[in-house]
């Protein structure tokens, strides 16, 4: 194992972890606050990617300077989330909170299927791509390997999202209210917190994080139907490893999965397909609720 290969594993692992983290924190936030397993998460990732690819592509074709494309990526994610997420939460999910967790899971799954087809209706079945943001910043070399600087942006977005979310939860009023709701919804409601508004905020914010993940991934891939499916499966694996509802858990889960997968690709490519699930199984065997599961008071 040469130094060059080891560094490659590390860099690839960190890039993949950053991508996983951005894709997964929205999911863990929504579960932590609302206690729903949100399968629509993948759809918002796909929506973010499609919106970013089509809007940025259209603006670039009209002569927008490529340097602005990064802001447009963020803006597209914001736009599409602010339109769709409140509609879903206020229009459908609001009436379902009283129901069983499994029923809510099925409802979010149904919404995911509907949104998948809605995406095909709006954007068609052909792939979209916008390559300018990816190559614009140039690349750097690590020994013999070349990496575009864009990957560092992805890592940056992950750090900003993670730190930002942690700061918000611990140092802002809304954040502290959210933490209260995370611990116990009934008592929070009894204390006078407007839990419905917290739910709306959480769902929108969690979905926004997913859309941002999709938007910033869009320049590196070809945006195709079915983009969201891959992400849901991986996000769930990461979140389950880290503990549903835990932010540091999601970070640690992402780092573990990213590094393990990267090492497998380099040294044992045949195992790459299932190594993530192997890690998940091993973690769950010893800590069934994940690495950083939140201690819950026993209820009856």
């Amino acid at each position: 194992m040469s130094l060059e290969q080891f560094l490659a594993v590390l860099i690839d692992g960190i890039i993949y972890s950053a991508w996983l983290f951005v894709a997964a924190i929205g999911l863990t936030l929504i579960y932590g606050v609302m206690k729903i397993v949100n399968v629509t998460h993948g759809s918002f990732y796909a929506l973010g990617a499609y919106a970013a690819a089509s809007i940025t592509g259209a603006l670039l074709a009209r002569g927008m300077p490529p340097a602005l494309s990064y802001a447009v990526l963020l803006g597209s994610a914001l736009l599409v989330t602010l339109i769709v997420a409140p509609l879903i939460e206020r229009g459908i999910l609001r009436f379902m909170y009283v129901k069983d967790e499994v029923v809510i899971l099925l409802i979010t799954y149904a919404l995911f299927l509907i949104l998948e087809d809605a995406i095909k209706l709006v954007w068609g079945v052909n792939p979209y791509f916008i390559a300018e943001p990816y190559g614009l910043l140039g690349s750097f070399d690590v020994f013999d390997l070349t990496y575009p600087y864009y990957n560092l942006i992805l890592v940056g977005v992950a750090i900003v999202c993670g730190v930002g979310l942690a700061w918000m939860l611990n140092h802002t009023r809304t954040g502290k209210l959210l933490v209260a709701v995370i611990h116990d919804t009934e008592v929070s409601r009894a204390m006078g917190i407007n839990v419905d508004r917290m739910y709306l905020f959480t769902f929108t914010f969690g979905s926004l994080l997913a859309a941002i993940g999709g938007a910033f991934t869009a320049p590196t891939v070809s945006v195709v139907p079915g983009l969201g499916v891959e992400v849901i499966v991986l996000s769930f694996a990461v979140v389950v490893i880290g503990g549903l509802g835990s932010l540091p858990g999601a970070a640690l889960g992402a780092v573990i999965v990213g590094l393990v997968r990267s090492a497998t690709v380099h040294y044992l490519p045949q195992a790459e397909l299932f190594v993530i699930y192997l890690v998940m199984a091993m973690v769950l065997a010893f800590r069934p609720r994940g690495l950083f599961s939140i201690a819950e008071a026993r209820k009856i």
């Binding site: 690839d12 792939p127 390559a131 891939v221 380099h266 790459e272």
Partner: protein, 431 residues
């Protein structure tokens, strides 16, 4: 009755009998339209690069055939004068869904012929059902060699070569353009039947063509993974001379977009066996020198014959893009079926042939398509072989073209009848 009344009655009966007989007799060709079930991906990942172009090709070919506007030897209307009606079915969904749709087409909707199927999984599942329901089924695109190598079918035909041809052709192209310089190879293929078979055949062919060649790395990421940074890093580190990939659609585009800025195309000769579907759209990201495959003599490798001139112009005029290999293969399937149908009809004295008669005409048939000559030569006469061609991408005045094209005749890149592809390659491509 009086004599006159008897005579009138006899005359009326005499006049009516021929009319009655004509109404009862075998319908002359051209009376009842033929229902053709066309199956292609209309949604899902495979729709964009393959399914929709194939659907478009079916639409326009059937329309032109019904208007008798196709050049010789396909100038008659429809199939032997009978108009064609297309019933379109989406190939998306599981193979169970596809089998159900097939049964619906045959038993509920009474289609006469089924032409379709892109996914090897679909083809493997549908073939036995077609045999059971005794319905003539023509596969137009799916690549797995296993269909006619593992079993034999009477009612199933495939009018395009198998994926073996793509891998063997690629190896021959490497041999003819790189000679002694290939010491190691690497692969990036999707981890399912198509990707695995493509890589296995390519690796085996390269071992025959360049004995002693080493496999530096074989990456098999999940289908639709989309993120290939780690795979690209590994292959860059492996420093292989040739990199083979059978990626398609979104995965191919993502791979090209990610590998380019990282210098993979400069470091190794990269072969994209389905590259033709992305070569125009991603022209700015594919540098000169990348080896482009079209799964046969399609697209930029199609010959300059009358049929191709007609097809490429008609398709491009209607759909604003040149036809890609999926479109060529669909038209090839329809025209091949027409050729078999009309041969059977001629042998049947001009009357509509039965399915069995069409099958007898289809077996070992040679026919012309916009891509050149097609011979139904292997798989006991049910599997087509065609020549293949590979070339490198080259931008001429800003337009994407192919250069350094090498063509390989059908018998050189396809196994002989009755021999399995893997055995044929292992035996050094013995004819």
């Amino acid at each position: 009755m009086t004599t006159i009344k008897k005579a009138v009655a006899a005359a009326v009966v005499a006049a009516l009998v021929p009319a009655y007989a004509a109404a009862q007799g075998t319908p002359a060709p051209g009376e009842a339209p033929l229902k053709i079930g066309v199956v292609s991906f209309l949604s899902g990942a495979a729709a964009g690069p393959f399914g929709v172009p194939a659907r478009n090709a079916a639409e326009i070919t059937i329309e032109m055939l019904n208007a008798a506007k196709v050049p010789a030897p396909y100038a008659t209307k429809g199939f032997g004068g009978a108009a064609l009606q297309m019933q379109l079915v989406d190939e998306a969904g599981s193979t169970t869904t596809q089998v159900t749709e097939f049964r619906n087409m045959v038993q509920r909707d009474n289609v006469d012929i089924v032409i379709g199927y892109i996914s090897s999984g679909s083809c493997l599942a549908i073939a036995p059902v077609a045999e059971e329901l005794k319905k003539l089924t023509v596969f137009f695109d799916c690549g797995t060699p296993r269909i006619f190598e593992d079993k034999s079918y009477k009612y199933v035909f495939r009018t395009a070569s198998t994926a073996t041809m793509d891998s063997v052709g690629a190896a021959f192209y490497v041999r003819d353009t790189m000679k002694a310089k290939v010491k190691s190879i690497a692969g990036v293929n999707q981890n399912y039947a198509w990707g695995q078979d493509s890589w296995t055949d390519f690796e085996a062919s390269m071992k025959q063509v360049s004995p002693g060649v080493k496999v530096a790395s074989s990456q098999m990421p999940k289908l639709f993974a989309g993120q290939y940074n780690a795979e690209i890093s590994t292959i860059l580190g492996a420093k292989a001379d040739v990199v083979h990939s059978s990626f398609w659609d979104g995965d191919l585009e993502a791979f090209i977009l990610q590998a380019g800025p990282r210098g993979l195309f400069k470091r190794s000769t990269v072969i994209l066996t389905t590259g033709e579907t992305a070569m125009y759209k991603l022209a700015d990201h594919i540098p000169d020198g990348v080896v482009i495959g079209a799964r046969g003599p399609y697209g930029p490798y199609a010959p300059d014959n009358e049929l191709n001139k007609w097809f490429s112009k008609t398709f491009a005029d209607r759909y604003n893009v040149p036809p890609n290999y999926a479109a060529y293969q669909m038209t090839q399937a329809i025209l091949g079926t027409k050729a078999a149908w009309e041969k059977a009809q001629a042998a049947n004295g001009g009357k509509r042939p039965s399915t069995e008669q069409v099958i007898a005409a289809f077996e070992r048939l040679n026919f012309e398509s916009p891509a050149g000559k097609v011979e139904m030569a292997i798989g006991a006469g049910h599997q087509a072989i065609t020549e293949t061609a590979y070339g490198v991408a080259k931008k001429v005045k800003g337009k994407m073209t192919v250069a350094n094209v090498k063509r390989y005749p059908a018998t050189m890149v396809n196994p002989p009848d009755g021999v399995k592809s893997s055995d044929w390659i292992a035996n050094g491509f013995k004819k």
